[in-house]
C-alpha cells in the first residue's frame, strides 16, 4: 500500500514536471503571433527609430513605457494612441525580455532579464544624448524599477528622472502565488482567466518557472522596502494605485509608501484611484468600461505628461 501511495505521488510530481501546454497558433506564445515591436521596432523603440537625435530632439522629454508580467507593449498602446500627433515629447515602448514571443522564451527568462530590457533602453537613450528620460511603468515593471532605484541605477543620472508607477505589484491579490515554489513544479503552468481577445497580447499560459521568478522579484523588492530606501536627489516618483485592483493587491501601495521616501525624507506622491481594474490605464479589451474608468485613464495620462516638463 505504501509503495502504491509513493508511486502515485511520484507520478503526480513527474507528470507535472516539464509539462508544457499546446499553445494555439492564434495565442501569443504559440510561435506565430509575436509582439508588434519585434517586427517593427522602429515604430516602438526610440533607440531604434531615433538613435541620433538632433539637439532639439535630445532635449525633449522621453517616456519609456514598461508593461507588466505576461503582457506586451499592447499594455501602453492607448497611451501611444493618445499621444499620437503631439511633438512635445517622445515615447519608447520597451518589450520585456521573454515577453511577446514564444512560450519557451518566456519560460526560460528570469526577472533579471526582464529588468535588463528596461536598463538597456535607458542606457541606449542616455548614450544617444537624450537629456530628459522618464518612465511610465505598470504592474510588474514597477518592482523592476523600484529595484533599479534601490541598487543606485539612477544615482549618476545627470538629469531629472521621473518615474510613474501604475498599479504596482508588491503583494499579489492571489495569495496562491506564495506557494508556487511548492506546487509550481507539480502544476507545470497556470492558465490565466483573460478576456476575449487578450490572448493575442498577453500570455494565456504562464510557466511556473516565470511565476517563481515573479515571486522571487516580489520578495526581493518587498524586503528592500521593508528595510527602507530613498530616491536619489534627481529622481521623482509618483504612484497611482487602483483601490480595488483585483490582481496587484492594493496593500502594495502601503508597502511602497512606507518603505520609500524622497531624497528629502518626505513621503513620495501617491494617489489611490477609485477603480476596480488592474492597470487602469489600459481599457482596450476590458469589458464594461465605465465613464469613470475613461476619466481615470485620461486624468492619469494628462498628469504624467504634465509632470515631465
Amino acid at each position: 500500500m505504501k509503495k502504491l501511495f509513493a508511486a502515485c505521488i511520484m507520478l503526480v510530481v513527474f507528470s507535472g514536471c516539464g509539462k508544457d501546454p499546446a499553445v494555439p497558433a492564434d495565442y501569443l506564445g504559440g510561435g506565430v503571433l509575436k509582439d508588434s515591436s519585434i517586427y517593427f521596432p522602429q515604430n516602438y523603440v526610440l533607440s531604434v527609430s531615433k538613435p541620433n537625435p538632433t539637439a532639439a530632439e535630445a532635449l525633449k522629454p522621453v517616456i519609456i513605457t514598461c508593461h507588466g508580467y505576461s503582457a506586451s507593449t499592447y499594455e501602453w498602446s492607448e497611451f501611444r494612441a493618445w499621444s499620437a500627433g503631439q511633438t512635445d515629447y517622445l515615447i519608447s515602448n520597451v518589450l520585456l525580455a521573454g515577453h511577446g514571443t514564444t512560450y519557451d522564451e518566456f519560460k526560460n527568462s528570469t526577472w533579471h532579464h526582464w529588468q535588463a530590457s528596461i536598463k538597456a533602453e535607458y542606457n541606449k537613450l542616455k548614450a544617444a544624448g537624450y537629456k530628459n528620460i522618464n518612465f511610465a511603468a505598470s504592474s510588474t515593471s514597477c518592482p523592476l524599477l523600484l529595484d533599479m532605484v534601490h541598487e543606485g541605477f539612477f544615482n549618476t543620472a545627470s538629469s531629472k528622472v521621473r518615474i510613474f508607477l501604475i498599479d504596482p505589484v508588491i503583494i499579489p491579490s492571489n495569495k496562491s502565488l506564495s506557494l508556487v515554489g511548492i506546487v509550481g513544479p507539480v502544476l507545470g503552468y497556470v492558465e490565466s482567466k483573460d478576456e476575449a481577445g487578450e490572448q493575442k497580447f498577453y500570455y494565456h499560459y504562464r510557466p511556473q518557472e516565470t511565476l517563481q521568478q515573479l515571486q522571487s522579484l516580489l520578495n526581493v523588492v518587498r524586503t528592500e522596502l521593508q528595510s527602507g530606501f530613498s530616491l536619489p536627489q534627481n529622481v521623482y516618483m509618483k504612484v497611482y494605485k487602483s483601490k480595488k485592483d483585483p490582481t496587484a493587491d492594493p496593500v502594495s501601495a502601503v508597502l511602497i509608501y512606507n518603505g520609500l521616501k524622497t531624497a528629502a525624507g518626505t513621503p513620495i506622491d501617491l494617489e489611490m484611484i477609485n477603480s476596480s481594474l488592474h492597470v487602469f490605464t489600459r481599457l482596450n479589451l476590458v469589458p464594461n468600461v465605465t465613464a469613470a474608468d475613461r476619466a481615470n485613464q485620461l486624468y492619469t495620462f494628462n498628469d504624467i505628461v504634465m509632470r515631465i516638463f
Partner: protein
Amino acid sequence: MKKLHLICLCVCCAYVTPAQQPILDVGLRLQQTINLYNENGFSIAWSPAKKRHDKLYLGFSYATSRLGSAFHSNAIKQDNLLVSGAWFLRRNHIIRPFGRINTGLFNASYGNKLFDDLPSKSLLLSPDVGISFETNHPLKIATSFGYNLITGDGLSGPGTLFPAYYQLTLSWNIYQPRGNNKEAAAIKKKW
C-alpha cells in the same frame, strides 16, 4: 491548623501524582508566514487534569509582526489573536504528533489615512498539524505547519493575510515541578 494540614497534603499529593494535575504550557510562539512576515508572540495551552488529560489542549496565542518583521522596519504592523483546540497523540512519548484548529482575529495597521479604504481586519481560521517534543522536564517544543482557510485579496480581506505558515512554540508547563520527578521520568522515556 487542620485546614493548613489539608492544604499541605493536597499540595504534596499533587506533586507526587503528576498525571492528576492539569497542564498549563506557557511560552513563546515564533511564526513565519511563507513568503511574507515573521510574527512572534506568546502562547498559552491548557489540558485538563482528568478526562482527556494531556490529549486535549485548549489554547490562546498572540503573534504579531511588531515583534518580528515590523520591528524597526517598514513592514506592516499586524496582529493575530488565536484561540485553539488541539489533540495530541502518543501520550507519555517524547515525540507526539498533534492536530489543531485555530480561530481568531487578524488586524493590520497601515499607518496613514490614505489607506483607510483598504480592508484591515479579518477572521482567522486555520488547521495546523505538527510534532511536539517533550522530555521529563516541563519544557515542550512544538512545531507545526498551518494553513489559513481565510486569506485576504485586498478587496474583501487584508492583503497581508497569507495562506501558509509554520511555527515553533517553546513552552513551559508551570504546573510540573522542576528537578527530579522520578514518576514522570519513568513514564516518559518512550520515544
